[in-house]
């Protein structure tokens, strides 16, 4: 149900672009207005989300510790999985954000006869996640050549590396293949694995279909229905220089690709995709396990009623005296 719904929404977007550009001639809307609005929504939306999380207090220092604590000098502590200094925390966050350290730990439990619970290593999800995210990043960076004149050397170098195995033109990028395979695997997990399917929401399928549609439309545009690259660059350069122009004769597939990308940008702040920013604010990862060394202050702490020792002794004084336990008031 959620699968069809999400798929239908992506198809609908494609059809709307088709009708809007081919039918109504709304090129200006799709190539200029929507991109600006989408980018604005993305920037304001994500900033708002981060700001809003940042407003929430961190009353307690509650890192999840994943290794030996800092302790006696002759016991080696695990400085990255159980950091007790800011450097350790930075290291832990780098591993988490760049290498998906926690996901790398993943295991798969199986119940065998006996009964015997067995835990196997399960790195496929990690591999697919790394492949997807890094391909996405490389593809995004490669696209900077549409927004720069001249194209900076690092971007050219990235293109060179990404197309390393290819001779001839147009260059075939490794990341194009990798991201499709990774997306198909992530989609397979949601559709084919009963547990994952059970927890999946429409908002889990939608980004997968959307990004897949973006990738496929991009590949189609590049290798099959070759659009007028010079015209496209006129549009993109017009957008970044705030002097938007639309040359004639650019294929519909470009408008579809662009609008799907805009959908992703605009959808981003309202969806689970904000995990990209949220992971930096996760208190179980970005705090040091040093609460016995440095005091952490709860900003909303308030006075509460407690039971004082006097109350305690008043209730038990006779019993304490009889048992020979010292008391404050005889």
């Amino acid at each position: 149900m959620g699968i069809l719904f999400s798929f239908a929404v992506v198809i609908a977007i494609v059809l709307i672009v088709f009708a809007g550009v081919r039918g109504a001639g709304l090129n200006y809307l799709f190539a200029i207005i929507i991109p600006y609005l989408a980018l604005l929504t993305f920037i304001i939306g994500v900033t708002y989300r981060v700001f809003n999380w940042g407003r929430s207090a961190v009353p307690f220092r509650v890192p999840t510790t994943g290794g030996q604590q800092f302790t006696l000098p002759w016991i080696k502590s695990n400085k990255l999985d159980n950091p007790h200094t800011s450097y350790g925390v930075i290291g832990r966050m780098i591993l988490e954000v760049l290498l998906f350290r926690s996901l790398f730990r993943n295991t798969k439990a199986e119940l065998h006869d006996g009964p015997r619970l067995v835990y196997g290593s399960e790195k496929l999800l990690w591999l697919a996640a790394i492949a997807f995210h890094y391909s996405f990043l490389v593809i995004l960076l490669r696209h900077l050549r549409f927004f720069t004149v001249p194209v900076p050397t690092p971007i050219q170098f990235l293109e060179f590396v990404d197309s390393f195995f290819q001779v001839g033109a147009p260059l075939v990028y490794i990341t194009n293949f990798v991201i499709v395979i990774a997306l198909l695997f992530l989609l397979y997990r949601r559709l084919g694995m009963p547990q994952i399917k059970y927890i999946s929401l429409p908002s889990d399928y939608f980004p997968l279909f959307l990004i897949l549609a973006i990738v496929l439309s991009g590949i189609y545009m590049r290798y099959f229905d070759k659009v007028d690259i010079v015209g496209v660059k006129q549009i993109t350069m017009g957008l970044v220089s705030f002097r938007p122009t639309i040359p004639d004769g650019i294929g519909i597939i470009f408008y579809i690709h662009l609008t799907l990308v805009c959908t992703l940008f605009a959808y981003f702040p309202f969806s689970k995709l904000v995990h990209m920013a949220g992971v930096f604010l996760s208190p179980t990862r970005n705090l040091a396990n040093n609460n016995r060394m440095q005091r952490h202050v709860n900003p909303w702490d308030y006075p509460i009623k407690v039971r004082s020792y006097d109350d305690y002794e008043n209730e038990f004084r006779e019993k304490m005296k009889k048992a020979g336990i010292p008391v404050e008031k005889e």
Partner: protein, 539 residues
């Protein structure tokens, strides 16, 4: 006390399917299965600590006698907590439902109920959050994973948030560190706004407020219990050990879990500690008020937890000690490591802890001034201050169960192992995926150690028990050591159910067995009063 239910036989219970049903989870109403949930709290316990809506009610009843404005109270409660806890706020927003946590939860592995996958347990509350606090949830409703807060939804949250032991295993594997323990803690706080707690939690809370300990032991009883232990120590070692209570001017205040003052096998841990402190001539005292490092308030609300921890530093101050030594207890160390100083610190009336025997400065406790007893003892052994006869534990083949809280909210792995390896000849680790930071819960933590939910406990403890079974079959392990009082209360039942013949002990019981004391008689008995094989006792 709760009546003890009878769980199905292990062969029945271990038939577990991890395949979820066809129907969408939102369309499956919660079903209260006997043996899987606890009794409701009696009103008197709520009244004792001034908590709202005390009344007689039962989870199985259709009518929970909720106040008319219950929905408003919960929604307002969520709103407040989104601002008070960044954990809650971020965790409500960033889950991508990748499913990495799904098969990490002991309740899911032992029961197969999909709503015990941490991701779905969180979604129970997240769906409500979306409905009332997010734009997409308000507009798109179910398509955005949002749902109305109804009485059935509230009951479902209650049922499953008391099927979580706040062990944090899911949080270790989550790529964003989403911690179901944190969500459960806040979920339970919300439920407590409506007086919806367990008898097994609120009873100890009320006791702890009045007497300082969960069991409700009054000061003279504490002394009497320890006197009994001193008698037993004398029988075993021939030495009359002395100890003091509420003594002003002692150097160290010792605070362990009250479970170790009463009942088997916790009392053997206390005996081991008493013997150790005597042998090294430690200048320490007990406090009859601060005689409980455990804190069931933590399973109620942060305010109640803080309330119950007032005694820790206030008694240290009143007695004028220099620092605090904390005993073998799991969630006590979650709190002493991550909360105590924030709640009631800074303890600037105390001194930075230094071992009076070895001169070691406990650098990692210089702020809160609370040292873990295995840190203290490991340091003694390292410096050769203890004479140990390992062979007195030769009848034991030991494995070590890392407790959730000391593992994933502290990281104390080597210290207890170092002690065990120095007092036992036969030590075997359980499989790597089930120990240290990846350890499995006993299945009874966070206040779920009741009698009426025995099936839940046996299911939740299944992954732990199964790992013990592995080392039992492979190495003949017959003793499951740990550093947690809840473990010592819960694991014997769990072992009897899944692995009969495996016993449970604290680390300082093993130490007490091995400790050669000055002037002791030849040992023929272990701390349990049972003959030591090959030591003049019966074989």
């Amino acid at each position: 006390m709760a009546t003890k239910g009878k769980p199905p036989k292990p062969e029945e219970l271990s038939k577990i399917s991890y395949t979820p049903p066809q129907r969408n989870w939102m369309d499956i109403p919660v079903e209260f299965k006997p043996g899987m949930y606890c009794h409701a709290t009696r009103p008197k316990y709520l009244e004792a600590v001034g908590m709202p809506f005390p009344r007689d009610w039962s989870p199985a009843d259709a009518d929970w006698k909720l106040p008319d404005n219950w929905k408003e109270i919960i929604l307002q409660g969520i709103k407040e907590r989104l601002m008070k806890y960044r954990t809650f706020h971020v965790f409500m927003d960033i889950c991508v439902r990748c499913g990495a946590c799904a098969d990490k939860c002991h309740f899911f592995l032992g029961g197969g109920d999909p709503k015990n996958m941490p991701v779905l347990r969180a979604e129970l509350l997240r769906s409500v959050y979306r409905k009332y606090f997010t734009t997409s949830g308000k507009i798109f409703g179910k398509a955005a994973g949002a749902r109305e807060l109804t009485e059935d939804v509230l009951k479902e949250i209650w049922y499953y948030y008391f099927q979580c032991t706040e062990c944090r295993r899911c949080s270790l594997f989550c790529p964003y560190g989403i911690d179901q323990a944190e969500i459960t803690i806040i979920g339970r706080e919300l439920l407590n706004l409506l007086g919806l707690n367990l008898d097994w939690i609120m009873g100890p809370v009320a006791n702890s407020y009045r007497t300082g300990n969960h069991l409700g032991l009054e000061p003279h009883t504490i002394k009497a219990n320890i006197d009994f232990m001193l008698d037993d120590i004398e029988t075993i070692t021939g030495i009359r050990v002395e100890t003091t209570f509420n003594r002003k001017g002692a150097e160290i205040l010792f605070i362990g879990p009250s479970g170790d003052l009463f009942g088997v096998p916790g009392n053997y841990v206390t005996m081991g500690e008493l013997m150790l402190f005597h042998e090294i001539g430690l200048d320490y005292t007990w406090s009859t008020m601060a005689c409980e490092g455990g804190n069931f308030g933590f399973f109620t609300s942060m305010e109640v937890a803080k309330k119950l921890y007032y005694k820790i530093y206030s008694e240290a101050k009143r007695l004028g000690v220099k620092w605090i030594l904390g005993g073998e207890c799991g969630h006590q160390w979650r709190l002493m490591n991550q909360y105590a100083d924030t709640w009631w610190g800074p303890p600037d009336f105390l001194e930075e802890p230094v071992s009076p025997i070895t001169g070691t400065k406990f650098e990692n406790a210089k702020g809160s001034k609370i040292v873990h007893i295995t840190e203290f003892t490991a340091d003694l052994i390292k410096h050769g201050k203890l004479k140990l006869d390992k062979s007195r534990n030769d009848h034991l083949k030991v494995t070590f169960h890392d407790s959730c809280n000391t593992s994933r909210a502290m990281g104390i792995f080597e210290e207890p192992r170092y002690i065990i390896k120095n007092v036992c000849n036969h030590f075997y680790e359980m499989p790597e995926s089930t120990i240290r930071e990846k350890t499995f819960c006993c299945g009874s933590g966070s206040g779920l150690n009741a009698g009426e939910n025995i099936e839940l406990r046996m299911r939740g403890g299944f992954p732990r028990a199964n790992a013990v079974k592995y080392v039992r079959e492979k190495f003949g392990v017959n003793m499951l050591a740990n550093i947690c009082a809840i473990d010592r209360a819960a694991l014997p039942t769990l072992m009897d159910y899944w692995n009969p013949g495996v016993d449970v002990c604290g680390v300082h019981e093993l130490l007490g067995n091995a400790l050669v004391m000055t002037g002791e008689i030849e040992r023929t008995l272990d701390l349990r009063g049972e003959p030591l094989p090959g030591k003049g006792g019966a074989e």
